[in-house]
Amino acid sequence: MIVLGANVAVNVVFWILAIAIAAAAIGVVRSPNVVHAALFLVVVLAGIAALYILLAAEFVAWVQVLIYIGAIVILFLFGIMLTRAPMRATGDLDNSQRLASAVVALFLFGVIAALMVDAYGDKEIKLNSKLVAVGNTHNIASAIFRDYLVPFEVVSMLLLAALVGAVVIARRD
């Protein structure tokens, strides 16, 4: 009975988050104000971080908050500021392909959704109780430093290259 109650609570939380995320995602692509679009993006990213916690992936959730909300959105706001995008609402942010883009996006959504329903129609996520009890950070650390050590080092080189590349590209000379 308690398990059933917890399941209902999880589903209610999921639907609240899902509706907030979907509405904010539409806000990102439809908002007439660039700064508002960036702030809608914060809502999307925070909602997805909450979904990660719902899936017992607390480490990914906090990395999402730190890297995405803490760093990437700030970068976007700097980008908006430095390119002198209009800070007030303007109708001049969309090009003339709006209708065709909407058709493409809806078609793709229909195809993917039909495929997912067909493939995973009645599958339920049942979290491993061991995982929920001790948390997941320990497992992620073992996975990174045992199974994925080489990719991890490659990614750190990629970050270094991107850092140097960004400095070189944006430098005034």
Binding site: V44, A57, K126
Partner: protein, 106 residues
Amino acid sequence: MALNNFLILSAFLFCTGIYGVLARKNAVLVLMSIELMLNAVNLNLVAFSAFNSPTQSVRQAASGQVFALFVITIAAAEVGVGLAIVLLIYRNSRTADLDQLDEMKG
């Protein structure tokens, strides 16, 4: 929790991102839409990681989350380089409007 709820939400986010990439003409907004698409992929990876956790060892099931972390890292690198390119374009042509950048049109 049905696995499908997460997958369809993720498909919705991905398609919203595609719409944004195609329909927006401010370069910073296009980069934001790409972030939506990357987040959709991450949500899929973490949902499948949770879905597989009862049948695999916990370390194997963490693979999905490790991949999500890699995608987050690469997204950070992509935004850094992407915004540097947008700033360079803005400095050279005084606009971040992608419809006006047609120097390579034949």
